[in-house]
Symmetry: D2
Subunit: 386 residues, 4 copies
């Protein structure tokens, strides 16, 4: 597969979601990050893009500049990710689609339903892909849940219970914290806060996993911190087009919860439970049987699960990130050497040859002890003995 070109709008310095997109797009080597308009401050965006390896002529000051620049190139980006403030998603996504680019738009895709329908129609007319980043559906076992439902393991789905609760906005003193305040301000956030910010991930996952669409709903919104105009807690009951009953709770004032995206699906012949904070396990109970723990990466899962799993069973999915820290230390040490400067002391934790040596001394010592009567033996390498 030929490497594709990728660009990003938004996701500048200090952004939470920007790094996740760059890690995600780069992970398999399928995309090269070649263009970006990363910041609403044009100069800051251009500078930051170049620190990330973008060529100066593709480090754009804003999305319009990027649209013009990329449209004019032979090697234009194959995919553009829109990770700007919510209110701008619609305009940017539409413009790129119309110019013939594939787009991955952060959620919420638009602020209104009419805008959403316009994007769907624009994408259809353009023949281009317009994807939306409900990224949690990318977890291998979420995809396996979907496969299990689709192939009938649960029989007809009766009930879906979804939850996305955290407590990061539980401090009333944050009323003046700009990183929090805008989220509950209709002028900036639109008609809904927590349900739009988190709840729709859970709602989409309910559809993703069951293969059913929401038909009707009844909602209860609350502003648990009274100064907020928009809701910080919501309960939504819904009915799906395949007959499933749905329940969805989302909250930003659930102090002690970190990132409580969970989904439970109950059908005629079994039940499933999965939680984002423990993504490597899926709890499956066949009717009349015991809870079974399905492990990501175990043998004989669905093709969907296999395709989206990169490390062997039992490894936390974050294991490649742990490995990456070893490489990150090495990169800093090597670069420092090359540049004739001192390395960052925080990048000194990478295990070195001496650690490998000590292990070998321990192995050989253990063999001697175990072959004998379990006697105590010196486990130090000879070169380190007194």
């Amino acid at each position: 597969m030929k490497k594709l070109n990728w660009g990003m709008i938004g996701g500048g310095q200090g952004s939470q979601i920007g790094p996740a997109h760059r890690l995600g797009s780069g992970l398999d080597g399928a995309f090269s990050f070649v263009a970006g308009a990363l910041d609403h401050n044009a100069d800051a965006g251009r500078a930051y893009a170049q620190t990330l390896g973008i060529a100066p002529d593709r480090a754009y000051g804003d999305w319009r500049e990027m649209l013009a620049g990329e449209s004019a190139r032979e090697d234009r980006v194959d995919l553009v990710t829109v990770a700007t403030p919510n209110a701008t998603h619609y305009e940017i996504t539409k413009a790129f689609l119309k110019a013939g680019f594939h787009v991955l738009c952060e959620k919420p895709m638009t602020m209104t339903v009419a805008e959403g329908e316009d994007i769907v129609r624009t994408a259809a007319a353009s023949g281009k892909i317009c994807a939306v980043n409900y990224g949690y559906t990318g977890y291998s076992l979420v995809r396996h849940m979907r496969a299990m439902v689709a192939r009938g393991d649960l029989g007809k789905v009766r009930l879906v219970v979804a939850e996305f609760a955290h407590g990061h906005h539980g401090n009333a003193a944050d009323a003046d914290n700009p990183r929090v305040r805008w989220r509950y301000d209709p002028a900036q956030a639109g008609v809904s806060a927590q349900f739009t910010d988190c709840g729709i991930h859970a709602l989409h996952m309910a559809s993703f996993v069951t293969g059913q669409e929401v038909e009707k709903l009844s909602a209860d919104f609350a502003s648990c911190i009274e100064s907020r105009v928009l809701e910080d807690d919501a309960m939504v009951n819904f009915r799906m087009n395949g007959g499933a009953v749905g329940r969805l709770w989302t909250s930003s004032v659930a102090i002690g919860r970190q990132h409580g995206l969970t989904i439970q699906v109950f059908g005629e012949t079994g039940g499933l439970r999965w939680a984002q904070e423990q993504p490597n396990q899926l709890y499956w109970t066949p009717l009349g049987g015991r809870v079974q723990i399905i492990e990501r990466g175990e043998a004989n899962l669905s093709p969907e699960a296999d395709r989206s799993s990169r490390v062997t069973v039992g490894h936390a999915e974050g294991m490649p990130l742990a490995f990456a820290n070893i490489y990150s230390d090495l990169a800093e040490m090597i670069s420092a050497t090359k540049e004739g400067r001192a390395a960052d002391p925080a990048a000194s934790l990478c295990p070195m040859a001496v650690d490998g040596l000590r292990s070998m001394a321990a192995v050989h010592g253990a063999v001697v002890s175990a072959k004998g009567q379990g006697e105590w033996v010196d486990a130090r390498p000879p070169m380190f003995r007194d």
Copy 2:
């Protein structure tokens, strides 16, 4: 930081550890993967390297060819990773160090203590980095454990209890399975099997976290499957140079355990517990207090923890891999379009604009319901109503 050049020996098609190294080295964009001798079959290795984007002249047939080729280049690799069968680590690592390359060697670094000392001396003489891939020390909270111990949160460390138990070799019928059999054959594996394969990760972690070295040990090895010459289960008691008592259990016949690398550290003023299968939480109990759950990414951790954390608190560390699956789907769809072929049906799970639209319809419906009396409202986008 200028991008560095990276190459790999071993880790060819079907390898478990190869992809983890490629993911890890590529994740932060610090290294370009530019050279490799990936397979003991020269042709297979050259071909596979090119499918991974290596230029033909740097897709080598074996490590000697790679050593010669890279030594001759101006833009030689800055770091070479050695991920070949264990018995070859010593020779290859030594050769590259002597030729002036930085090396990251897979564990075990060597087969004997003498070889280990030779590598340490060779690295020192060369002035080059020789690192060993105890990759689990890269987890953010493992590094935070080390920082907590180092800054004195636990007082003097009294006791370390390490464990690495799995059950993947628990089937006696695997005596003839070539993927398992060689591990217990002294001719191929050397003096020890499970302790070398897994135990030394846990033993090194005990040193890493406490900052103490193993001085002496007493071991009990067992071949729970009797046909095995080498141990599939081991208990090692040890004493460290800072006075800590150590206990280490490792097993490959613990059926039901997947990847049970855990470490507990107990000191004068508190205790810590961490498990690889749940790497985002660290359990900390100050003397006389309650168990507290430290979350990866929470505010005010150590610099070592912060430097090695990429996603915000509450996300499973695997979240970038979930995002990567979204991008992987998109890459396949876009590539298929460009190449005029049908996309892999398994790569069709990426959420699309219609999903974004449905969310918006749900949000607006919920707002209407919540502002009223919780009445049921149609949650479908108008364009999808009957």
Copy 3:
């Protein structure tokens, strides 16, 4: 404290709740079980009562007989527990209250609101205690939650999230199972099934823990198994008189859930989470702090928690029941001896002197080994060596 006399109506042979009441009332030795009308079949009830140690003249055929009999005695029961079918609670409870007995009534106390008000007024007029068995509020840490809220640890309570989900009625084939069917039949169960059966435990717990009463609510009921007239799944949103928002989910079709009674309370300055299936731990997160695990029985809890805790910290609350099994085995063995019969073979698991001896041999062997070099020693008692 002088021992009190206790009697029971309902809870005959095969009843689930009867044994729990007898265990609970007898546990601390405060009550003697002296009277009962245990079964709707008068003869069966009289016979069963006597097997439980009730004197023949207090083994009644029905509750009216018991009311008459006990009313006529000097040593009448101090407390009567009503554990009959739901529809009879009202009549029996009222009759005993009016006759001057204290009553503990199983839930639901009545079938209608008017009956409930009548009971409240009758109890007030009689000056007698009328308690209702929301028995889960008896858990030590539930009482501690209440104490923490009451003393202000959470500040003002904003949100309560309660749940009582199980999957024991998830099998559609149970439509004809008499143990399940009646629960969903309005003729026998009244206006509601799952919400009345389980949901009100959770709803009461929300009041118990917060000290607030439910003022208004909005409900969504579903019959996930379509043949059911009454709900097997319900979501109830509510508002409390102290300003708290409430959410309550209850289900009997959540396959894989056993007894999912959980409660979460979120306030201005912290959050709490407790689950019945793990009753010995309470998860407490102060605003801005980490999750802390409060253990039942730990030092310096509230008086309410201390009063309701019987075993030391770290023991599962069921530890006395484990001990009781040792005693149960012994009772069978001793009785068999006295009665000159063979003991039930299933009652032969109690550890015996030989087990105590073997332990002592192991201890002394271990001391020898540990004082030496960890050498292997014979751990068998001399009398059992070959």
Copy 4:
């Protein structure tokens, strides 16, 4: 079954283990607690026994007095529990056995192996039961583990890993705390501290579950708090007479661990894991299959498991103790009324009729709301509306 008479030596006021024996022996109503010599202070023991309902003539000053007194009675105790300081177990147990009493002795049964053999021989000669209180073997699922092993579910057992770690003696300042100090003093505790206090529970459980006896062992003891003469941490490796390899870790300095008695058994065809702190679940993994969660009380377990389970599946085993707290509150309220005094305010948490009424109002309100459009309805009983 005729009720048996039970007496106790030791377990006086303030004892930890005394209440557990009284709860355990009384739970099923098989034993009446009729005699005791509860305290080394004769007057205190006599007084305390009477507060527990013992008749004055059977409230003895010491065990010799009790031995004489009970031996002279027709209605002598059927079973005597010895829960005195360890060093006295041997003498008392032997004396009662020789006098023809059945005995349940606390662990450790004796201080030496020779004493242990003497007890075994004495019991055999007397024809009386001499049991030892390894009470944790009474848990239903521990008995089920034994049954699974015995019936061959695991094939031949290869490996047993037992653990009993806590941190309650982790404070070096406790060197002067009399409740802790004696445990590490050879004059009072004998040859071993932590291994005898906790480790032998785990070691016996290894035998109990596997049906195999320990043949030889190798031990490593450590005094992590240096001022201690006896060990506060121990690792014992062992081999069993059926071929199983054993590993046992016990510690009293594992800060953060409460009561970490766990056992894992691995055989040819599966593995089991159980932990005392979560006694209602047993993790079972058949070879090549997934982890399954066996629930205490589920259908179709072994007869041994069924016989030792008192509450239905999903209830924490402590549920009867929660119920007991309801009864405890009622006992206090009723007694206070009878005695014309104020009730203990801490005994006021029992739910009352008004709580039952409020539930009924909520149920009927919910039915109205759910039958309609989910509208909000007043959930208060009419009598409590403004």
